[in-house]
Amino acid sequence: MTGNPWRTTLRLCLARIGWVALVFSAIVAVLLAADFARAGQERTVRRPELADMLEEVRQSRADDPARAAFAAEMDRLARHAYFSSVQFRRHGIWMLAAGLLIGVGCLQGASRIGRRIEDPRRAAATDPARTDRRSRVAVAAAALTGAAALALWSAERGVRSAERGVRSAECGVRSAERGVRSAERGVRSAERGVRSAECGVRSAEGGSTDSAFRTPHSALVPASAGGDWPCFRGALAGMAAETNVPAAWDGASGAGVRWKAAVPPGVSSPVVGGGNVYVTAGDENERAVLAFDAATGAARWRQTVADGGAGEALPQPTPDTGFAASTPACDTAGVYAVFATGDLAAFDRAGKLRWQVYLKRPESVYGYASSLWAGGGLVVVQYDQKSGGRVVALRAATGETAWEQPRPDGASWSSPIVARAPDGRDVLILNGDGRVSGYDLARGAPLWEVEGVSGDVAPSPAAEGSRFFVVMAGAGALGFALTPAAAKQWENASVSPEVPSPVAAGGLLFVPADNGAIACLDAADGKPLWTHEFPAGFYASPIVCGDRLYALDREGVMHILSAGRTFRKIADCALGEAADATPAFAGGRIFIRTRTHLWCVGSR
């Protein structure tokens, strides 16, 4: 082969090109490494010298504009350096990859041209039995060594962990005080649990035998524990934690009615916490938060919320939405309320204003109506609107923005829920026009987006186990797996809710509709199990309480059904007043807001 001059020339050329390309790659690699070491993306704009200078200038900015300009220029240069570094790296990797491929490819070609086929007879004979024996010994030794190394590695961590445990002991003392307080709360909670268990037994005795409600609501992250019914549809998005609620009352005769109190206009739902029932009310003149004594119905306080956008034109919500359609949220510290004017205010239990935030006027054709979610030290606002929509998490203590994410899909009237994904992360699930989005509740990072339902989306999502659900007239009901990427599992176009939200419990999904139909679907595959039509439609969302489903229609009649796989009516209880707000269940009582009154039903 070497006798052919053309082949020899080609081999030499390829070999030289190959080496040149490899040297070029090596130079690029060194430059990349140097760039990384010199101006890593973190260090470029986080240099302590720059930070010190910026801080210094910030403090003396008014005095020395020239110095401020100099610092700003330094800041700009640092950023320029960062982006240059990014650009260099991007181009450098191209050059490195191309150089490596060309270099190695040319050397491979040169090697192939110059290769002679060796006479196989000259190769040393191997003893396969001996090779196998050595391989066996090597594999056994490697496996046992690996196992031992793993065990040692773990033991080493144990020692370090013990050292840390000693250091943590002091912290434990401090924690003990907190533990005592926690224990007191635990005792009170246990008492409630015992009462709840007794009621559960009573409920089970009289309950439906085909009820599917047996599994825990593992997916949902409860909203603030400080409220008995802390937000729209309660802490568990439509699931009431207690089962000892009344099943018979009559508004006309007053039977079963504990108290009723007059309330001003507003369609927001009541929330209950700390012995108070909170409702919001409002019109173009003023917006207010009202607190009632949950036990007696006596008005405790009423606070108006100042218009943060005073001077700006007021929104023009439709009459059935109004200025106070968003349900407030409450926790141990007090109550949070948002209005169609874009004002979000926090009051303590005594009615003292803690903080107020103006979110700007929402652009919403029917009027802003999404409700708040409070929990984990955050108050979450789904502020979907025609343009400039966003989701904002505010610190419950101060009203400062913890995080904020844009939501460009236009207006929606849906409210947030929070569910725990299988990876343990708390996922804020928001239903919007065209898609359902998941955000990391703690950090606000968008986690996933899936195609959802379209239109003027008002129903809020539901969740149970490892699934969540969204519904909307036109699209029907959609079931999704709550996986790290969220994936659609099924859809059922037979349901058509526009306002009320579904509730999932016991492997079933109950979907109410504005036209008065309630459908029960199998949550696993979306197959319809039963549908029943009531004469009046639903705006209020149904609540599952033990083995019963409570659905309040627009004429104020509560339809109590078995929350099971077959339809069974338990009772109809009328108040005699039209109602659109979702009732609250707390302390063995039901709080129902009608157009003109706040009712409390229950004997205790």
């Binding site: 993306q41 800041d75 490195l96 190695v104 090597a138 793993l150 590695w153 913890a402 790290p484």
Partner: protein, 412 residues
């Protein structure tokens, strides 16, 4: 998303809103699936029927360009293994395309051997195209290094199923080239693997790739598999010398009569070792579980919180964020406890399976199979076609085929 401070001064510049880029997709998912199926069938035809190494290389180049540099190497069947594990643990939610990408090469391997590795996988193609002068690794060392893929597979499934991320994707040394952007350590690893691959052919495929292990298992049962020679083996030994992956086994005579009993005894003793290895693996896995669980963000955050409580100088970004958000430590502790419990179960199971696999390897090595001719070891053969190119019988067959084709051309 850029993680650095916002500009400090009013400059009139409007900071753009952080955007999440849309999932890269040049083709609709159904077309992606169809394309993969077509490429797998083409690769099978080139390896099994056409027996053409140049055609296999050409297809590998095209697939490297498409699946690597155009599609940026994601989502690939190697990574899809983790999607499947995560979805299985979560009880559903596997995107159908990910499922297809995972299953189609396995099905192809069941039918035709590892044709996916031959010319479809961009990682394999990149390594195969950069083999310059391969050196044979001693078989005992190779046997040890081949414990790598099961270990990686076990860890990948464990982490994906426990929600601790996709480690195989994080450790992919080539994705930096495909995306033209990577941290320098990842890039350095990529360069190192490419340079290593010039003398040790396909190091990633042989000693790291978890999907290759699954493909190898399927290929053992392949309906049709590539053969070294189109007709008879003349025991010239050229194929064995040409294969850089040590996937060709030489002829082996039966053990002498006096050694047969000893061989049986050895096999029996090795089989007795299997339960011990299984138990050792399970125990080691369980012991290592708490430390492995630290790679889960919740467990890490809990540990960092504890460390910061013990040492005021310690600073961890996740723990600081947790504190500043006012999250509930009790809830975090409960989450971390649940994660650790999952790891204890999963790591024990994975360790036991690894031990079992090592035991099975030992048993296979203790056998003394009799072979008359040079034979392909199906689980190792990636269908590169190097053995065809050097086989004298293949040259005769190829010449005859070309002559027949020319004759048919003349007749027509």
């Amino acid at each position: 998303m850029q993680r650095f401070p916002q500009p400090q001064f009013e400059t009139g510049y409007v900071v753009p809103t952080a955007q999440n880029p849309a999932v890269f997709a040049w083709l609709p998912p159904w077309l992606e699936a169809l394309l993969l199926a077509a490429v797998l069938l083409l690769a099978a035809w080139l390896v099994l029927k056409r027996r053409s190494r140049p055609a296999v290389v050409l297809l590998a180049l095209l697939c490297l360009a498409w699946y690597g540099f155009v599609r940026h190497g994601c989502i690939c069947p190697v990574g899809a293994t983790q999607n499947v594990a995560a979805a299985t643990a979560a009880g559903g939610g596997l995107p159908w395309l990910a499922g297809f990408l995972f299953a189609a090469p396995l099905l192809a391997a069941l039918l035709f051997g590892r044709v996916f590795c031959a010319s479809v996988c961009p990682l394999g193609a990149l390594q195969d195209l950069t083999v310059v002068r391969p050196v044979r690794v001693p078989r005992p060392l190779d046997a040890v290094l081949r414990l790598g893929p099961p270990l990686v597979l076990a860890l990948a499934v464990l982490f994906a199923a426990c929600g601790a991320g996709f480690p195989v994707c994080r450790a992919d040394p080539f994705v930096g080239f495909f995306r033209r952007f990577a941290p320098v350590p990842m890039l350095a690893a990529g360069v190192a693997v490419v340079l290593l691959g010039t003398v040790l052919a396909r190091p990633y495929c042989r000693w790291f790739c978890p999907y290759g292990l699954l493909l190898g298992w399927c290929a053992r049962l392949a309906w049709r598999h590539a053969a070294i020679t189109p007709d008879e083996c003349i025991r010239c030994r050229l194929c064995g010398e040409a294969c850089p992956f040590d996937a060709i086994r030489e002829p082996r005579a039966p053990a002498p009569a006096g050694q047969a009993a000893a061989a049986r005894r050895r096999l029996l003793l090795t089989m007795l070792l299997v339960p011990a290895l299984l138990a050792a693996g399970a125990l080691a896995g369980r012991l290592a579980a708490p430390r492995l669980a630290l790679l889960h963000p919740d467990v890490a955050c809990e540990a960092h919180l504890a460390e910061m409580a013990a040492d005021p100088q310690a600073r961890y970004l996740d723990a600081e964020a947790f504190r500043s958000l006012g999250r509930d430590p009790a809830r975090l502790a409960a989450q971390a406890r649940a994660v650790r419990a999952r790891f204890v179960f999963g790591a024990g199971l994975a360790g036991g399976l690894l031990g079992l696999l090592a035991g099975v390897r030992l048993v296979l090595l203790a056998r003394q199979p009799v072979r008359d001719v040079y034979t392909i070891e199906r689980s190792r053969c990636v269908g590169c076609g190097r053995c065809f190119a050097v086989c004298p019988r293949h040259q005769v067959w190829a010449q005859r085929r070309r002559r027949n084709a020319a004759l048919q051309g003349n007749e027509t």
